[in-house]
């Protein structure tokens, strides 16, 4: 489980020269970040990585080719 703390978020943003407004904002970013990384790690077990090098927009273009052929 990802567990970014508000202090860790503050240190990272301070290093970029970015300040949030108050402690609540650091708490909310830490919670969003931790939950998001949890979600992605979970998805990595749910969705197999069997893609080739195509990116989504190239994929939609491939669909156009399928539609027109």
């Amino acid at each position: 489980m990802a567990d970014y703390t508000p202090a860790c978020v503050k240190a990272a943003l301070d290093g970029m020269g970015i300040a949030l407004q108050d402690e609540t904002e650091y708490v909310e970013v830490a919670l969003r970040l931790s939950t998001l990384v949890d979600a992605v790690l979970h998805l990595m077990s749910e969705i197999p990585d069997n893609s080739d090098a195509l990116m989504p927009h190239e994929l939609t273009q491939a669909d156009d080719v399928r539609r027109s052929s």
Partner: protein
Amino acid sequence: MTHEDICFAGVDALGSAYRAGTLSPVDVVRAHLERIHRFNDVLHSYVTVTDDDAFRHARDCERELRNGIDRGPLHGVPYAIKDQVTTKGVRTTAGSRLLSEWVPQTDATVVTRMRDAGAILLGKLNMCEFALGGSFQFPFGTPRNPWNLDHETGGSSNGAGSALAAGLATVTLGEDTGGSVRSPAAHCGVVGLRPTWGAVSRYGLVPAVWSMDTLGPMGRTVRDVAYALQAVAGHDPFDPTARPAGAGAYRSALARGIRGLKVGVIRDLMEDPALAPDVAAAVRRAIAVLGTLGASVGHASLPLAKHAGAAYVAFGEPEAASLHATRLRSDSAAYGHVARVRLATGLLVPGFAVRWAERVARRAITEDVFRALEPYDVLVAPTSRTTAPRLEAKQNLGYTSKDDVRAEFGLGRAYTTPFAFAGVPALAVCCGFSGAGLPVSLQIVGKRGADDVVLRAGHAYQEATEWHTRRPVLA
């Protein structure tokens, strides 16, 4: 026509009256501006109203029409545009204090095209800050839902939805990244189209998530949306992602009806335990109407749609953050709370998560959409799992645990975002009202490039029903 009737008239009715000489563009602009100034202090649909320019343009249109110069169906029709789109000489705020004084030097391509078509700009429409969604603090006033002022409008094209519902414009242009045209269309009971990605030029658009941003027309009827799409779609040398395909076919497609159209109902969304009963019932009735019009109805599945929210945040917020990083360093206090928290999150998402979410998750969900569409002409589902939520007075997101955040990333986004991933056209059409009197919306999704088909299905539905003729009561 009364002033209210003028403000709720469609493109065809205005055009007929102009050409019959019973109404002029100046009359229509005056009626709209009076109504805007009467209700905007409450609704906050508009950030900026361009009274003088609108009257000047209306007089030009009147003169042209009198002299036999006819620019087509939008000639003299009043419209408004999300304040995310640049307008020469008119401030463009993108819903942010940061841009409250920004006056662009050029028009976006869609603004030029609407002007070439004779449409008259009434002003710029309120929106969530930088189209990031989820705002509850609006520097230019909190948008309120005309059907119930205690409820949200949906976003991020908030004003584009509420202005139409309240009769403050005939047509609007919004922008949809993950659902930002369809959500306000749904909650305000109007029509909103997210066109095929690339159908409409984005030159002059303040970006949110570049790889998904799509400008989309909105109206009270599908016919009016088709007119607007006709005007703005097509290749643009200033935007290499804008394609020529499709332009020219939107209006003429409407008359063909939907007999034989293959419709797939997205089972995963219709069986969502959190789908509001009023919404489910109205959407089921709408699907039955499509059946009575000759469509063949089957079932489709999008098993990965439930992951769209997390995938979107994982790569979308870093993409947005990359656009704002420099300004966050110099002026983070000028952002609103939601934008600042979302962009700060985006700056810190690990690289592997960003790349995996776009390369694998987005692709897998896109393939899901293509697979579901394969045997059908269109897919249908609710546009939103609920009617417009009640406005809340709050100062921050109020997150105290991961469970709070999971609700933000959860199934709610599954209704609109998968189709944005796939770049396919998706139309929101009002299909009824809840017991509390709030609009419910049917979403019609088509194959890439088949914007004409979703418009045809939506138009056939509106021709068979009367929901789009209802007006909210504004005191």
